[in-house]
Amino acid sequence: MSSHPSPTTTLNVALRAAPLNSGAPRKQRTPIRPARILLHTFLVVTALAWLAPLLWAMLAAMRPYAETSAKGYVSWPDKLSFDNFINAFQQSDMLHYFGTTLLIAVPAVLLTLLLSSMVAFYVSRFDFRVNLFLLLVFTAGNLLPQQVIITPLYRLYLLIDLPGITMSGKLYDSALGLVLIHVAFQSGFCAFVLSNYMRSLPHELTEAALVDGASVWRLYWQIVLPLCKPAMAALATLLSIWIYNDFFWAIVLISTGENMPITSALNNLSGQYFTDPNLVAAGALLTAVPTLIVYFALQRQFVSGLTLGANKG
C-alpha cells in the first residue's frame, strides 16, 4: 500500500495522456505485420462482443412487439422503426423526468464544484494545522459505501420540515434533499482532486497578489479558480454523468414517482406502463442517451477526470 502515485502525478499523466488517445497520426507508422493484423482482428472481435449487449437492446427496441412475439427474438426483422422509442418517450412522460433530473443535477454539479474548490483552496494555499486532517475527512467520506449512512440519513430527511420550500414539506422526497446529499458526498472526491491541482500552481501567483493587498476571496475567485478550469471541466463532466446515473439515493430518498430522476423513474415505469420488453429496451436506451452525448462531446475531460480521480469507486 505504500506506493500510491502522488495524485498530482496522476493528474499530470492523465492530462498529458489525453491527446495521445485522440488517434493523431504518428510519424513512424509501423509497417503492416502479421502480428498487427492478428491484434486488430482480436480487437475488432472483442469490441463487437463488448458492444453486443447494447446492439441487441437496440435491435429489440427497433422491432414491434407483435413481430418478436410471433417470430421469436432471434429472427430476421421484417421491419425496423423507432416507434418503440416514440411510444416509450410519450407513454412514460420522459420529458418530465429529464426535467426533474436536470433540476437535481445542474445545481448539484455547480454547488459541488463551488464548495469543493473553496475547501481545496483553503487546504492547498494556506498552511493551517487542520488541513491534512480536513482533506482526509473529505476523501474518506467519499469512499464509504452509501448504505453505511442511509438509515440515519433517511430518518433525518423525514425529520427536517421545510414547509413551503419543498413540495413534500420535508427534505425527504424533494429535489433539494437529493442535491444536498450529492453535494455532500461528491465534494469529498472533488476537494481531493482540486487541492492537488491547486497545489501544483506556483505560489508566487497568490503571494504577489496578497502582498499587493488583494483579499483572500479575490485570490480564490480571480486568480486560482480561473487557472483550475481544466480540472473543473473534467470534474464537471464526471459529476454530471455520476449524478445523472444515480440510482440509489433517488430510490431511497424519493417516494413520489413524479419527483424521481429518470434513472430511478425507469425502474418504476418498467413495471407500471411498459408492457413489453421492446418498450423497456427503448426506454432504457433513451435514458442512456444524455450520458452518451456528454461522453462523446467531452470524452477527453471524462477520461482525464476518471484517471485523475483514480481512487473513486
Binding site: S3, H4, P5, S6, P7, T9, L11, V13, A14, L15, P19, L20, G23, L39, L43, W50, L51, P53, T68, L115, V123, D127, L132, V137, F138, L143, L144, P145, Q146, Q147, V148, I149, T151, L153, R155, L180, A184, F185, S187, E207, L210, S215, V216, P230, A231, A233, F247, S264, N267, P277, A281, G283, L285, Y295, F302, T307, A310, N311, K312, G313
Partner: protein, 327 residues
C-alpha cells in the same frame, strides 16, 4: 468551457511526473498568515466551514448515528421508542439471520470475480491499445461505453439477454420453451453469476482506462533498453512494465474492493436481491424501503459494511497522504 481545457495548462504539463513541485511552499505560509486581515480570516473560515459542515453532517455524523443505532431497537416513530439493546442486533445478525452470511459471501465473491477476471482483462486490453495502433480510440470507446451508462440501465439491457422467455441466451440455445427454461435471473445457483458477468463487462472498461493512464507514465526509454537487450515482449512486460505499474495496481485494488462493497444497482434492478443475490448493501436498503423497518438491525449491517470499508480506506489514505507530504 469546452475549448480551453483542450490546451493542457502549463502548470500541469510542464513539471516532470516526479514529485509535485511543492518545495517552495514549505516556508511561505508564515509570511502569508501575517498578511491576512480579519476579514480574510472570516472569509477563509466560511470557505472551509460551510462545505465541511455539510459534508460532516450528512456523511460522518450519519455514519456515527448508524453506529449508535446499531445498539438499539427503534421503530422509527418518535424518539421515545429508541431502546438500548447492547450487542443483541449483532448477535442476532451473526447467529440467526439466514441472509447475513450468504450476503457476506456474495460480497467476497463479487470482489474475487472482479479482481480475477475483468481486471487482468482490462490490463491486457490497455497493454494492447498502448501499442500506438490505429483506431485505438474506436476500440477504447467500445470497451469504455458501459462505464458511462447507469448501472440501472445496464441491468435493463442485460435482462434482455437473460430473460427466460424472450432473452437472447435462451432463445439461442432453445431453452425458452416451457419445461426447458433456464432461469438465469430466478435460479439461486445461477443468478449471482449472471449478474457478475454484467458487472465484469462494465468493470473491464473501467480498469482498461486506469491502466492506460498508468502505462502512459512508463518511461519509454526503459522499454527501449529492454528491447535492445533482446527481451521478448512478455519479458519486457513482466520485468519492466508491470513493476512500474505498482501505483496503478494499488489504486485498482482499492477501487475494486470499494466497488464490491458498494455493489447494489445491478442487483436491485435484476431481482431486488432475492434468492441467491443477497448483498450487504441490499440487506441495509431492504430495512428502509422494504416492508420490515427494523432500524437498529439494518444499522448493525451498515456498521459491518462501515468497518470493512474503513479497514481498506484508512490504510490506503494514510499511505497516500504520507507520500504527499513527503513529496
Amino acid at each position: 468551457m469546452t475549448a480551453t481545457p483542450a490546451k493542457a495548462p502549463e502548470p500541469a504539463t510542464s513539471p516532470a511526473p516526479g514529485p509535485a513541485p511543492t518545495s517552495p511552499t514549505a516556508k511561505a505560509p508564515h509570511g502569508h498568515r501575517r498578511l491576512l486581515t480579519r476579514r480574510d480570516r472570516v472569509t477563509l473560515g466560511l470557505m472551509a466551514g460551510v462545505p465541511t459542515i455539510l459534508h460532516v453532517a450528512l456523511v460522518w455524523l450519519t455514519a456515527l448515528a448508524s453506529i449508535a443505532l446499531a445498539f438499539t431497537t427503534w421503530d422509527g416513530i418518535g424518539f421515545d421508542s429508541i431502546t438500548w439493546v447492547g450487542l443483541q442486533n449483532f448477535r442476532e445478525l451473526f447467529t440467526s439471520n439466514p441472509q447475513f452470511w450468504p450476503a457476506v459471501e456474495h460480497n467476497v465473491i463479487w470482489f474475487v470475480v472482479l479482481i480475477l477476471l475483468p481486471t487482468p482483462f482490462g490490463l491486457f486490453l490497455a497493454v494492447q491499445l498502448d501499442k500506438k495502433i490505429r483506431f485505438s480510440r474506436v476500440y477504447q470507446t467500445a470497451f469504455f461505453l458501459p462505464v458511462v451508462m447507469s448501472l440501472a440501465v445496464i441491468g435493463f439491457v442485460w435482462q434482455l439477454i437473460y430473460n427466460p422467455d424472450t432473452g437472447l441466451i435462451n432463445s439461442l440455445i432453445g431453452a425458452n420453451k416451457p419445461g426447458h427454461y433456464i432461469d438465469w435471473i430466478g435460479d439461486p445457483d445461477l443468478n449471482l453469476w449472471a449478474i457478475l458477468i454484467a458487472a465484469s463487462w462494465r468493470h473491464a472498461g473501467y480498469m482498461m482506462i486506469l491502466y492506460l493512464a498508468g502505462l502512459k507514465s512508463v518511461d519509454p526509454a526503459l522499454r527501449e533498453a529492454s528491447a535492445l537487450d533482446g527481451a521478448s515482449e512478455w519479458q519486457t512486460f513482466k520485468n519492466v512494465v508491470f513493476p512500474t505499474l505498482r501505483p496503478t495496481n494499488t489504486v485498482v485494488l482499492v477501487v475494486t474492493i470499494i466497488e464490491a462493497l458498494r455493489a447494489f444497482d445491478l442487483v436491485f434492478v435484476f431481482n431486488k436481491g432475492a434468492q441467491g443475490t443477497e448483498l450487504l448493501s441490499i440487506l441495509v436498503t431492504n430495512n428502509i424501503i422494504g416492508e420490515s423497518s427494523r432500524i437498529g438491525y439494518g444499522s448493525a449491517i451498515a456498521v459491518v459494511l462501515l468497518v470493512i470499508s474503513l479497514a481498506v480506506i484508512i490504510p490506503y489514505l494514510i499511505a497516500t497522504f504520507r507520500k504527499e507530504r513527503r513529496a
